[in-house]
C-alpha cells in the first residue's frame, strides 16, 4: 500500500466525494477489529494467519486492535446467530465513522450452509436491515466468498475495499447451446 511497485494501482470509478478522500487518507494504515458472529473458526484462523510471517499483512500497516472503538474496519465472520445479534449491533455501532465492513466467507456473505436454520440470521445481508433500523450507518461493505477464505483472498478483499484493485467478479448470463 505504501508504494505501487509492480502493481497497477487504479483508483475506483466512483466519484470522488468527501468520503472517498477520507478513504484515500486511510490508505496509510487501516486498523481492524475481528468480529466473530458464531462461525466455525475456519475463517478466523485464516484471519490470524494473515498476521503471521508467511502472509504478513502488517507490512501494509494493518493492525489488529482490541476494541471496535479504535477500529476502521470490521472483519465479520460467521452467519450471525440469534444469541449474538445484540452484541454485533453494539460492536458495529461503537466504531467511529467512516465504518467499513468486510464480510468474510460463505457464512458472512450468504449464510453459508446455515442459511436456513432457526438459530442463525443468514450472514451480513440479513443484518443490514437491522442495522439500518437501529440507526447504524455502514459506509462501505465488501463481500469475500470462500470456505474458508484464503489469506490471499482476505488481502485481495481489503485491497478492493480501499479502492486499490478492481473486482474481477461480474454477473454472467449465458444461454445453453447445443453441442
Amino acid at each position: 500500500m505504501s508504494d505501487g511497485g509492480k502493481l497497477d494501482l487504479t483508483l475506483s470509478e466512483f466519484t470522488l466525494n468527501k468520503l472517498e478522500e477520507v478513504f484515500i487518507k486511510l490508505k496509510r494504515s487501516v486498523w481492524v477489529f475481528h468480529l466473530n458472529t458464531g462461525s466455525c473458526n475456519g475463517c478466523d484462523i485464516e484471519v490470524l494467519d494473515v498476521l503471521t510471517p508467511y502472509f504478513d499483512v502488517e507490512r501494509f500497516g494493518i493492525k489488529l486492535v482490541g476494541s471496535p472503538r479504535h477500529a476502521d474496519l470490521i472483519l465479520l465472520t460467521g452467519p450471525v446467530t440469534i444469541k449474538t445479534i445484540g452484541k454485533v449491533v453494539r460492536a458495529i455501532k461503537a466504531m467511529p465513522r467512516p465504518r467499513l465492513v468486510l464480510a468474510l466467507g460463505s457464512c458472512g456473505v450468504g449464510g453459508g450452509i446455515w442459511f436456513n436454520t432457526y438459530a442463525t440470521l443468514g450472514g451480513y445481508p440479513r443484518i443490514e436491515k437491522i442495522l439500518k433500523d437501529a440507526g447504524v450507518e455502514v459506509d462501505r461493505i465488501v463481500y469475500v466468498p470462500g470456505c474458508p477464505v484464503r489469506p490471499e483472498a482476505i488481502i485481495y478483499g481489503v485491497a478492493v475495499l480501499l479502492g486499490l484493485l478492481q473486482p474481477k467478479s461480474k454477473r454472467r448470463r449465458v444461454s445453453a447451446v447445443e453441442g
Binding site: 477489529f33 475481528h34 468480529l35 466473530n36 458472529t37 458464531g38 462461525s39 466455525c40 473458526n41 475456519g42 475463517c43 478466523d44 484462523i45 485464516e46 484471519v47 490470524l48 494467519d49 503471521t52 510471517p53 508467511y54 489488529l64 486492535v65 482490541g66 476494541s67 460467521g78 452467519p79 446467530t81 440469534i82 444469541k83 449474538t84 445479534i85 445484540g86 452484541k87 449491533v89 453494539r90 460492536a91 453459508g112 450452509i113 446455515w114 436456513n116 436454520t117 432457526y118 438459530a119 442463525t120 440470521l121 437491522i130 437501529a134 470456505c147 474458508p148 484464503r150
Partner: protein
C-alpha cells in the same frame, strides 16, 4: 425377562468386564429390561425409565466405565415414545454400552447428575431441545437464548424450521444477568477477542489476585445443526459436519460416516481407511501447532507464536496438496473417500514431514527454555486425577492428569491397528503436563503418517453400493486433537433420522471451574486455553469494582502480562 439370563450374558459379552457389568444390571433390574442385543462392539440394553437410576447406581463405581454422551430423540411417530440413549464406554475392553430408555411425554426421568457429573449439560440440553423433564435437579436454559418461548422444542418432529423462525424473533436488547456476590470482584471475560476464536463468556470471581470460582455462559455458536441434518441426504451431511468446527472439522465428518457405516454394516475398502487416517493425523499436526502458538502468545512470548505458525504453514500446504483445500477438506463420503493420494505425492509428504520434525524440535527446545514460559506453566491450573475421572473428561486434558484414555487405542478405528505408536501420559496435572502431552503427540503423529504412507494398499477408495435401512443405531467415535468426538446416528431412508454430535470441549468445559480455583488471575487465560477449547474464551476483560461502581477495560494481554515472578 423372566427366563434364565446367564446364557444370554455369555453370548453378548465381549469379555470379562462386560460380563461383570451386565450381570450387575440384570441382578437389580431384570424385570425392567425390555431387550438386550449386541452388534459389533455395541451392546444395547433397552430398559424402562423407572429402573434406570437403580441400574446405574449398581455400576457407577466401576473404574473403567465412563459416560460419553446422552442423545435424546423424538420417535413418537415411529415407536410412540421419546427416547433417551445413554452411551457409556468400557475402556479396557473397547465396548460401547448403550441404554435405550423410552420416555412417555410428560413423565419425568430421574436425574443421574450426582452419579455421573458429566451428565449435567446433557440433561439440560435434552430439556431445551426436546422437552424431556428430569426430577431431582435444577433446570435452566443452556443452549437456547433466555427469552426463547416455553413449550417450543426445536428438535421435535412436528415443528418445522419455518415455524420456529416465525415464533421466535431475536431481540436487540441484550440481557444481563447479575449474580450478587459480595466482597469479590467480578471479572467477565467475553465475548469478543482481538486475536480470534469464538465468542464465549466466562465470569471469574476474584478475591485479591486469586480466582475463587468461575461461571460459564456459552452456546453463542448454537446454529441448529442437528435439525438441519434431518432435512439433508446422507452424502450432504459430511460437509455440514466438517463445518461444526473449522479446526478439527475432518474429525467430525469421519465420525459421522463411521457412525452410518456402523449402523448399516457397510464395508469400507482398506485404502479409504488409510487415506482417512493420514488426513486425520495431518489435521492433528496443524491443530497442535496452532495451539502451541496461541499458548505462547498468551504467555507473552510472541516470537514463539510467530515461529510456530510459520512452521504450521507447511502443514496447511500439505493438506491442500492432499485434499484440495487448506481446511474443510471435503473428501469424506459414506462408504469411503472421494479423492485419492497418488504415488507422486508421497515424496512431497516425506519431505514436508522431515522438515517439520527438525524445525519443530528446534522450536520446542528453545521455547521451553525461556524462563517465563517454564515458570508460568509449572504448577498452575492443577486438575486432580480423581476429578478428571469423575467428570468423564477426555483428550490431552485427562492424559496430562495420569489417565491413559485414547480412542485410537481403546476403540480402534480406521487404519490405526496397523501402526505402532505410543500414547503420551504425564501425571502432574498442571499446564506444563498438558503442554508436554501435545508436544509428544506431534512427534507420534509424524511417525504414524510415515508408517501409513509406507504400507498403503491398493484398491478402490469407496464402497460400490449400500442400502439404507430405517431406524438403525450407529455410533462413531474418533480421537480429535482435543479429545474424543462421538456421533450417534439413527438412520432413515434418505438421510439421518436423528444425529447427535458431542464435541470434546463440551465435556471438558464442565471441569474448567475446578481448574481455575486458586489460580492467580494472570494465569487464568492460559488455564482456560490449556484444555484447548474449540472456542477459545480469552477475551477483552472488563473490570467492574462492585463497591465504587467504576468500570475499566483492559485488553486480555494486559491481564496476562501482569505476571508476578514468584521465585
Amino acid at each position: 425377562m423372566s427366563h434364565d439370563y446367564s446364557e444370554l450374558i455369555e453370548e453378548l459379552s465381549r469379555g470379562h468386564r462386560s460380563r461383570v457389568i451386565l450381570s450387575k444390571i440384570l441382578e437389580v433390574c431384570k424385570d425392567s429390561v425390555l431387550d438386550l442385543s449386541r452388534r459389533n462392539i455395541t451392546i444395547k440394553v433397552v430398559i424402562k425409565a423407572n429402573c434406570l437410576r437403580t441400574a446405574l447406581e449398581s455400576i457407577y463405581k466401576e473404574h473403567d466405565l465412563y459416560l460419553r454422551t446422552i442423545a435424546a430423540s423424538d420417535e413418537r411417530s415411529r415407536e410412540g415414545f421419546l427416547k433417551l440413549y445413554y452411551v457409556f464406554g468400557i475402556d479396557n475392553e473397547g465396548t460401547n454400552l448403550v441404554f435405550e430408555v423410552p420416555v412417555v411425554e410428560g413423565v419425568k426421568v430421574d436425574t443421574i447428575s450426582d452419579l455421573f457429573r458429566a451428565s449435567d449439560w446433557y440433561e439440560l440440553e435434552a430439556h431445551d431441545l426436546l422437552g424431556i423433564e428430569f426430577n431431582g435437579r435444577q433446570m435452566s436454559r443452556l443452549v437456547l437464548p433466555e427469552d426463547w418461548p416455553e413449550d417450543l422444542y426445536p428438535l421435535r418432529k412436528e415443528v418445522s424450521v419455518e415455524e420456529l423462525k416465525k415464533m421466535y424473533q431475536p431481540q436487540l436488547v441484550s440481557r444481563v444477568s447479575e449474580l450478587e456476590v459480595e466482597e469479590v470482584v467480578r471479572i467477565p471475560i467475553g465475548p469478543y477477542h482481538p486475536a480470534l476464536h469464538e465468542p464465549e463468556y466466562f465470569e471469574l470471581y476474584v478475591r485479591g489476585e486469586k480466582v475463587v470460582d468461575a461461571r460459564y455462559v456459552g452456546f453463542m455458536v448454537h446454529r441448529g445443526i442437528e435439525k438441519l441434518a434431518e432435512s439433508m441426504k446422507y452424502d450432504q451431511v459430511p460437509f455440514l459436519a466438517e463445518r461444526i468446527c473449522g479446526i478439527c472439522g475432518f474429525v467430525h465428518s469421519t465420525s459421522y460416516v463411521q457412525a452410518v457405516e456402523d449402523a448399516l454394516g457397510i464395508e469400507v475398502p482398506e485404502r479409504a481407511h488409510f487415506i482417512r487416517s493420514i488426513v486425520l493425523e495431518v489435521e492433528r499436526l496443524h491443530s497442535h501447532l496452532l495451539w502451541l502458538g496461541v499458548a505462547l502468545h498468551l504467555l507473552g512470548y510472541d516470537t514463539g507464536f510467530m515461529h510456530a505458525w510459520r512452521i504450521r504453514e507447511k502443514v496447511m500446504v500439505l493438506a491442500e496438496l492432499l485434499t484440495g483445500s487448506r481446511k474443510t477438506y471435503g473428501i469424506d463420503l459414506v462408504g469411503g473417500v472421494k479423492k485419492d493420494i497418488d504415488k507422486d505425492k508421497i515424496p512431497k509428504i516425506k519431505e514436508t514431514l522431515n522438515a517439520l520434525k527438525k524445525e519443530f524440535k528446534e522450536l520446542v527446545d528453545v521455547a521451553t527454555s525461556v524462563p517465563q514460559v517454564k515458570a508460568r506453566l509449572t504448577g498452575t491450573g492443577i486438575l486432580p486425577r480423581g476429578e478428571a475421572r469423575a467428570y468423564s473428561l477426555v483428550g490431552p486434558t485427562v492424559r496430562g492428569s495420569g489417565l491413559a484414555r485414547d480412542v485410537r487405542k481403546d476403540y480402534t478405528y480406521a487404519a490405526y491397528h496397523y501402526v505402532s505408536f505410543k500414547v503420551p501420559v504425564y501425571t502432574e496435572g498442571d499446564n506444563l503436563a498438558r503442554t508436554l502431552v501435545r508436544i509428544d503427540e506431534v512427534f507420534e503423529s509424524i511417525s504414524i503418517i510415515e508408517q501409513l504412507v509406507d504400507m498403503m494398499p491398493g484398491g478402490p477408495i469407496k464402497a460400490e453400493k449400500w442400502e439404507p435401512q430405517p431406524m438403525r443405531l450407529g455410533i462413531g467415535a474418533v480421537e480429535a486433537p482435543r479429545g474424543e468426538v462421538i456421533h450417534v446416528v439413527l438412520t432413515d431412508l434418505y438421510g439421518p433420522y436423528r444425529w447427535r454430535v458431542r464435541a470434546p470441549t463440551y465435556q471438558n468445559l464442565q471441569a474448567v471451574p475446578i481448574m481455575l480455583k486458586g489460580v492467580d488471575l494472570a494465569d487464568a487465560p492460559l488455564t482456560i486455553a490449556s484444555i484447548d477449547p474449540c472456542f477459545s474464551c480469552t477475551d477483552r476483560a472488563v473490570i467492574i469494582n462492585l463497591r465504587s461502581g467504576s468500570v475499566k477495560t483492559l485488553p486480555i494481554e494486559a491481564i496476562s502480562r501482569r505476571v508476578r515472578r514468584n521465585g
